[in-house]
């Protein structure tokens, strides 16, 4: 009887092969790393430095190198999460629509500042990087870094930049903006919540927006508006700018 049962049970090494061959391992790894990141983020009272994405990327990167899993293999499984980026981009219409409701005729002012901020973001990043002699393969990744990551990666594909580098630079920019943004705003004596929020949303997209929401709801609403509009404008303008400049 027990012998018969053992015949049905594959050796443990085969189970391992099966698990690592299916998308499950990559999915579980990605999701649990993100959960861990979220927990640490909550524990740190939502400190932007304890960014859940950053923590998750470090955890997953370490895990796949310990498991000796090539990145292509990992992505094969994790692509199911990756796929939802497009859906998330479409969903950005919701905060933009809700933001419109609280506009009170400020659209012109907001759009002008947004365009100025977007141009500043691209030119300072690429200009500084070139001036400091950064490898040209990295410079292209900087082009869309102030745009929210899902749209930035779409732009990256269109300007022959690496979506990975763009995502990494976008996340870093978001963290830096969320941490440092208030000092700049205080130095410039910008006190209106809607102005502070919008600037954070334009410069530091999603991470800046969640920071703005944790400070003040009006700042948060304007930050999501800034992030969303920057995404739309960036997706239309940046490919042209790159074609012209590079």
């Amino acid at each position: 009887m027990s012998n018969e049962f053992q015949n049905y049970l594959p050796p443990i090494s085969e189970i391992w092969v099966y698990l690592s061959g299916s998308p499950l391992l990559a999915l579980v790894l990605t999701l649990s790393a993100y959960l861990l990141g979220l927990t640490l983020y909550e524990r740190s009272q939502r400190n932007p430095l304890a960014n859940p994405v950053l923590i998750a990327v470090v955890v997953v990167t370490l895990s796949i190198s310990v498991l000796d899993m090539p990145y292509a293999k990992y992505f094969e499984g994790a692509q199911f999460v990756h796929f939802l980026l497009g859906t998330a981009t479409v969903s950005l219409a919701i905060p933009i629509y809700k933001g419109f409701a609280s506009l009170k005729g400020r659209m012109g002012v907001l759009l002008l500042s947004l365009v100025a901020g977007g141009i500043t973001s691209v030119f300072t990043a690429v200009g500084m990087a070139r001036w400091l002699g950064v490898d040209e393969s990295l410079v292209r990744g900087l082009v869309a870094k102030s745009v929210t990551a899902p749209i930035a990666m779409g732009i990256a594909e269109r300007v022959q930049a690496s979506p990975t580098l763009t995502a990494i630079f976008a996340v870093s920019t978001g963290i830096l903006g969320a941490v440092l943004g208030r000092y700049v705003l205080d130095a410039l004596r910008v006190t209106a919540w809607w102005q502070r929020g919008f600037a954070l949303g334009v410069a530091a997209h999603g991470i800046g927006t969640s920071r703005a929401f944790s400070v003040h709801p009006e700042a948060g609403a304007y930050a999501s508006l800034g992030m969303g509009l920057h995404g739309i404008v960036g997706a239309v303008v940046i490919p042209y700018a790159v074609a012209w400049w590079f």
Partner: protein
């Protein structure tokens, strides 16, 4: 209590069953599609109403995403499909004058965990570690300066323009 209830009844949490485009679309195309009050829903099964709303929201988001991809493919190849989907959904919401609960539920849920979605691509950083290490200081400097300048220019201009507008009024 009756076993059949009107699904249009608002359930706790404020979700309506029959707010979706698809629902209206089907009722228009198919005369036999049950009117909301004809649908059978068990009173105890709020969970069912909830999941149905979720699926409606997901399907609608996918439809807009697919429309965006189509427009991108055939009309505006230089704009990413999802961004066009965003614009289409925005136009749809403006026409509707409200965010349907189903779209709000699913879209809001996805956006709440937006960060999760770019982990798979970001892990690709393993492929770039050597070149990133070699340029670490310069890249960090460029990112810091750039984000400071972006916040300063956006907020500064916003402040100046808003003041000007106020003086104008």
């Amino acid at each position: 209590m009756s076993m059949l209830t009107n699904p249009r009844t608002q359930i706790p949490g404020g979700i309506f069953l029959t707010d979706s485009v698809i629902d209206h679309f089907f009722r228009y195309l198919m005369p036999l599609w049950p009117e909301p009050h004809q649908r059978l829903t068990f009173e105890t099964a709020h969970g069912f109403v909830y999941t149905e709303t979720m699926i409606q929201g997901l399907v609608q988001l996918f439809i807009f995403q697919a429309l965006g991809e189509l427009v991108s493919k055939f009309a505006l190849p230089f704009i990413p499909g999802p961004v066009l989907g965003l614009v289409l959904l925005l136009a749809f919401l403006s026409v509707l004058g409200a965010v349907p609960a189903s779209i709000d539920l699913v879209g809001g849920g996805i956006l709440q965990h937006l960060g999760l979605l770019f982990i798979p691509a970001s892990v690709g950083v393993v492929l770039y570690l050597p070149v990133l290490k070699a340029n670490a200081w310069a890249i960090s400097a460029a990112l810091v300066i750039s984000v400071l300048a972006t916040v300063a220019v956006t907020a500064g201009l916003l402040k100046v323009l808003a003041k000007k507008e106020q003086a104008h009024e």
